[in-house]
């Protein structure tokens, strides 16, 4: 996605889900970094995220701490226009603050093998 279209998408979804700004959405490195709110650890291994259902409250600031175990999986949450590459051995922290309730799909978008198409999950935002 080009930079202008990415900005447009962020604006479009800004009404639904507000994150910490494009530059602050994702940080790579140790989780010792200053973080705000609840931290939800998610493991990615072929061909499953654990957990694959993440339940948060609307407006809650949450950090998703993503860790790949066996492959450079992707993490893509298209409704937030948010994605990251998960390098094995690193924790990728993604901070979100969803402002609209609903169910939002996330998926691995780096082809990882025979059951790659099944590697997905759901972010559930409750009121």
């Amino acid at each position: 996605m080009s930079i202008p279209s990415r900005r447009l998408a962020l604006q479009r979804f800004g009404a639904m889900i507000v994150a910490a700004g494009a530059a602050g959405l994702m940080t790579k490195g140790p989780r010792a970094e200053a973080q705000t709110g609840r931290v939800i650890e998610i493991e990615a291994r072929r061909f499953r995220y654990t957990p694959n259902e993440i339940v948060v409250k609307r407006g809650e600031v949450v950090t998703l701490a993503l860790r790949a175990l066996d492959f450079a999986h992707g993490f893509n949450l298209p409704d937030l226009n948010l994605r990251a590459d998960l390098i094995p051995g690193q924790v990728v922290s993604v901070r979100i603050q969803p402002m609209q309730s609903g169910r939002f799909a996330f998926l691995c978008d780096n082809f990882c093998g025979e059951h790659h198409e099944e590697m997905s999950g759901t972010l559930i935002v409750e009121t």
Binding site: S2, D79, L107
Partner: protein, 296 residues
């Protein structure tokens, strides 16, 4: 008798006809008598050779039946394209190559010998195209046919579904040689636009490809990946996906999971098939006719 007249006379049934492209295009450089005259080609896609599972209990014979159906067409196409996922993926590099060899052995029975292959992510993403290149050659290339410029784009060898900067530069340089009204056909595996990102039905840098294509007035894209017929416009660029030869998938984004539609023993091969594309270079228009695996 040309292909169009033959189709009119034959009045074969059983498939939808769709007209794409824009009028008003002609390639000015052709000199031989067949240049710019209409022709047709066949597109087959998503064969997944090596798949074993309940979604197609006839997987071992479906490709062979499709080859026989193509061979039985009343007028043979000028050429045939396979738009990716020739084989079903496997972690075993030896098995991957064995599947490719078996696939080649079956399609060698096609009467038409001018066949163009391109990879899908099942063929190429786990080894960045190494086995595919060994058995089928380059993963991106061009060819010209009767005034139409065909560009095969690889959006699968990168496991992140990217065309990549190197190929984008190559594409831009290739198209720079063309008139802005030249008829151009893009053949690729994944959709170049965001069809259903939550199902990974997209190309991560597809917007950059479309940006390069946009100045050209007569561009049409034929692709696979989504296992169903689908038609979409991005500006003046038409995109047409093809059915598969293994199992159909649900309509884009229509449900939470992209699980295959179940095999129906009462209607084997339902939702599977291939297509003819009747090209008219003078008008840069393309008529699509869908075929079932086995003709009724």
């Amino acid at each position: 008798m040309d292909r169009r007249n033959f189709l009119n006379l034959a009045a074969v049934g059983g498939g939808a006809v769709f007209v794409a492209g824009l009028p008003g295009c002609a390639n000015m450089g052709a000199t031989d008598k067949t240049a710019n005259s209409s022709f047709y080609f066949v597109q087959l896609s998503d064969i997944h050779w090596g798949y074993k599972g309940p979604d197609n209990p006839d997987a071992a014979v479906t490709l062979g039946k499709a080859v026989a159906t193509v061979n039985a067409l009343d007028v043979q196409p000028d050429f045939i394209v396979f738009t990716g996922d020739l084989t079903h993926t496997t972690d075993d590099a030896v098995e991957r190559r064995r599947r490719m060899i078996e696939f080649k052995h079956i399609v060698a029975d096609l009467r038409v010998k001018d066949v163009h292959f391109m990879p899908g992510e099942h063929d190429a993403s786990l080894d960045r195209g190494a086995a595919f290149i060994e058995h089928f050659g380059a993963t991106h290339y061009t060819f010209d046919h009767r005034g139409v410029h065909f560009v095969v784009l690889d959006n699968v060898s990168d496991p992140g579904a990217k065309v990549g900067d190197e190929q984008l530069v190559w594409l831009e340089a290739d198209l720079a040689k063309l008139d802005k009204v030249a008829p151009i056909v893009i053949l690729t595996h994944r959709p170049l636009f965001d069809l259903a990102p939550k199902w990974d039905w997209a190309t991560r840098d597809g917007a950059k490809v479309l940006q390069i294509l946009m100045p050209f007035r007569n561009v049409t894209v034929f692709y696979g990946h989504i296992h169903q017929e689908h038609h979409h416009m991005t500006g003046h660029i038409a995109h047409h996906s093809s059915k598969s030869l293994i199992f159909p998938l649900p309509a884009p984004g229509s449900q939470e999971k992209r699980t295959p539609l179940p095999w129906d023993p009462a209607m084997p091969y339902r939702g599977l098939g291939f297509r003819e594309v009747d090209a008219n270079p003078q008008s840069a228009s393309y008529e699509i006719k869908e075929f079932t695996v086995v003709r009724a």
